[in-house]
């Protein structure tokens, strides 16, 4: 008889899954908690500071707009990171790719003169190709010469930066602007604003489409399956007959393309000319977004929203109170450390597993006696 012991027992699989989610959530909670502690310590008016940090971003339409504007480029770089890191390549040239993408779009928007709709599309394509180039270099160096992308991609970022600044300063600089910047973009190239009273532009829609595409590609198509298998165990992929090097290149080219497209969308949507003076940090933020999302593009919008929200919160807080905006960097670093730390919450998980095992044992015992 099994009636008496019909109570369902969690399987180890469920425990494992539960803890992967828990790790991310607890990581974010701890990071926020520490941020609150810091606020309490350094602020003369901690409650007001906290309030503007938590509720501030939602108080006006303009601020809500700021959240969406902040998350838009992160959708692109976040999905880009999903592609590259799913193949287990630590290629951080998404950062340089983003800037090169902005450069590509700038060239498209100032040199070419095309009708609306077509013009931004051409600019994004150009930006994407530029971004793909940034990621191509570390990728091919690894495939051909086994040089680890961790180092080469960081170097590549500086190369990208100087390429972009060099071209802007020496080729398409507008002498009429009072600071180093390109000529203004053709109006046909700029992305339409979609909500009055904010700077929210069509880029958010393109970004969401990219996230959907990324999910379908990585998790629902054969090419995405290849990327994930190569990333999880390259030897296994080769043994199974997958073209490992091709897959590695493909994942990074797509990632670079998306990062570059993000750069294009950002300048075309937010600005009227290229006016960056250095690397923008959007690529590194994308790495954080990708990590929080567990390299699943479907989760990227949520992760990007979270980051956008605390960014705007910190911004509001720093303007209304006595807290510096750098607080956000602290929160970010704590999240990264806790989320990527595989052994974080390990003891708790292990205890849970032992408990499950005990219940299982007890059930076996009962079954054996009956």
């Amino acid at each position: 008889m099994t009636k008496s012991i019909a109570k369902p027992i969690k399987t180890p699989k469920e425990v494992e899954r539960e803890f992967n989610l828990l790790r991310v959530l607890v990581g974010m909670a701890i990071a926020l908690f520490i941020a609150f502690l810091i606020i309490l310590l350094i602020s003369k008016t901690p409650l007001a500071a906290l309030e503007s940090f938590i509720i501030g971003p939602l108080t006006t339409l303009r601020r809500i707009g700021n959240i969406v504007e902040a998350m838009t480029p992160l959708l692109f770089t976040g999905v880009a990171v999903c592609f590259i890191f799913s193949a287990n390549q630590t290629n951080m040239a998404v950062e340089g790719g983003f800037l090169l993408g902005a450069l590509g779009a700038t060239i498209g928007a100032t040199v070419f003169h095309l009708p609306p709709v077509l013009h931004p599309l051409v600019c994004m394509l150009l930006g994407g190709l530029f971004g793909a180039f940034a990621c191509y270099v570390p990728a091919i160096l690894y495939v051909k010469f086994n040089s680890k992308p961790v180092v080469s991609s960081l170097m590549m970022n500086y190369i990208c930066m100087y390429i972009a600044l060099g071209i802007i300063n020496h080729v398409i600089r507008d002498p009429g602007a009072g600071f180093p910047a390109s000529y203004t973009f053709d109006e046909t190239a700029q992305l339409a604003r979609i909500l009055k009273g904010t700077h929210i532009h069509a880029g958010i829609l393109i970004g969401l489409a990219v996230a959907l595409f990324g999910y379908l590609y990585l998790y629902r198509s054969r090419r995405g399956y290849e990327i994930r298998m190569v990333g999880k165990n390259m030897n296994f992929a080769a043994y199974s007959g997958m073209p490992v090097n091709t897959v590695l290149m493909r994942s990074q080219l797509i990632g670079g393309f998306l990062a570059g497209m993000g750069g294009a969308v950002e300048v075309l949507g937010m600005y009227t000319r290229f006016q960056y003076q250095g690397l923008t940090g959007h690529g590194f933020d994308g790495i954080l977004v990708g990590i929080i999302a567990g390299y699943n593009p479907a989760m990227v919008p949520l992760a990007a929203l979270f980051l956008g929200y605390i960014r705007v919160g910190a911004d509001v807080m720093s303007r209304m109170n006595d807290i510096p905006i750098e607080l956000v960097s602290i929160i970010q670093s704590i999240i990264i450390v806790l989320v990527v730390a595989e052994r974080f919450l390990y003891k708790l998980k292990h205890r849970k597993l032992v408990e499950v095992a005990h219940k299982e044992l007890a059930r076996e015992e009962v079954a054996a006696h009956e």
């Binding site: 494992e16 629902r220 198509s221 054969r222 030897n235 992929a237 043994y239 073209p243 390990y346």
Partner: protein, 519 residues
Amino acid sequence: MDTVVLSMENITKVYSNGFVANKNVNFSVNEGEIHALVGENGAGKSTLMKVLFGVEKPDEGHIYLRGKEIHIDNPIVAIKSGIGMVHQHFMLVPSLTVAENIVLGMEPRKKGFFSMERAVEITEKAAAQFHFQVDATAKIEDLSVGKKQKIEILKALVRGARILILDEPTAVLTPQETKELFIELKNLRDEGLTVIFISHKLNEVTELCDRITVMRAGRSIGVQEVKNVSESDISRKMIGRDIQLNIQKTRAKPGATILEVANVSKNSSTSAKKALDSVSFRVRRGEILGIAGVEGNGQTELSESITGMNKDFEGSIKIGGLDVRSHSIRQTRENGLAHISEDRITYGIVGDGSIEENIISDRYYKPEFQKGPLLDFKKIDALADGLIKDFTIKCDGRDQPIKMLSGGNMQKVVVAREFTSGSSLIVANQPTRGIDVGASEFIRNKLVELRDNGAGVLLISADLNEVMELSDSLIVMSDGKIAAYFEDAGSVSTDELGEYMLGIKTMSPDRIRSVAGND
């Protein structure tokens, strides 16, 4: 006179993947006995010994040494307490001499510098005391497996071990080396040492040991005097049921040649010797060709070359007429190759992947699994569920990460993939290593079934019983060369095989040549 020297009480160990390796295990050994710890692979023997040696921490339970409770947090504590362990994989530095390895971590010094003379002295004194014959100045890499094992034992003894754990010591030895080891172990027992002998070879246990503890599925089933039990008693306790030890198979009906290996040579990556030295043979459809030999005599290189994993070799290899070197692994697989790798974790599976992801890795790209630009998950799910059922894979469902399965079930996932790809040549390299008897039996029967359906099978195995039982014809490899070829595997004795494996005997080139089919 039977004094309990060590006892472990109520040991429970849960691994972080949720696998319960030990369930309330009690185990104790007496002074001056050879105590066998037997059980199927995965029964928890190795885990129990790792707990004893401080490699794994138990979740519950106590360990008592001479009546006093001790906490063995790491191997250093174990060694200080007089517990020594000889692992399956030797922990020796190949480029150093025997003496240097023996004193590793406790190096004798003279004027602050390492003293080679004293190291040799220590080694020779210990060797004399325990009746071991070793050359203290020889380099480890030049020694045979049997000799290396002796060094490992000596290393533990020099560190003051009174309790010696040997984890499946005979798995890597030839029959002759095994006999020698047994004599030495009996000597040690007579000196008053305690030996814990882990094995699943019952004939060895009855020959060598005094008492026996049987483990099954993480529990200890009981302790007995070896003289009071028969092998079949032990076997029944280990398995929990009677199993049929012999595979039923009819005579092979060889057909067309499916694998042709011609004059394959390969330089060794670790030594000046050749890993493969003009090896030629063929495998025909409908036959199982076994390759026996002590591990490390070229089997790994041979299987890597045939399966396209490593194309850096001389000579030619053709599968179904297709040259392996000039084609990709995918092309070779499409041309009929199935491959069970000896290194399951590195090549055979992707540990972080689900069971389903592991099953489709060789066929996910085929048109039948596509629906528009996406994968047809309805079909893939059905395939995975079907194979899980057909191959009786014990799991929580097709989306469970494969790393959470036991070794036997992982291997079943591998064979579920490799045996259903419609292949005409199966290269099975150590297909049942480290997995339980039930799964082994299942895989062996499947190999015979595939043979009967017209596939050629190349079976590489260090398990002599397995190759002898399954093979129709048999090759013995030694030093990268084919040392012997037996057209009828049934006509060979283990002793004879052992002599060829050790390189004591070699067949004439003419007789070996007949294996290539050009007689």
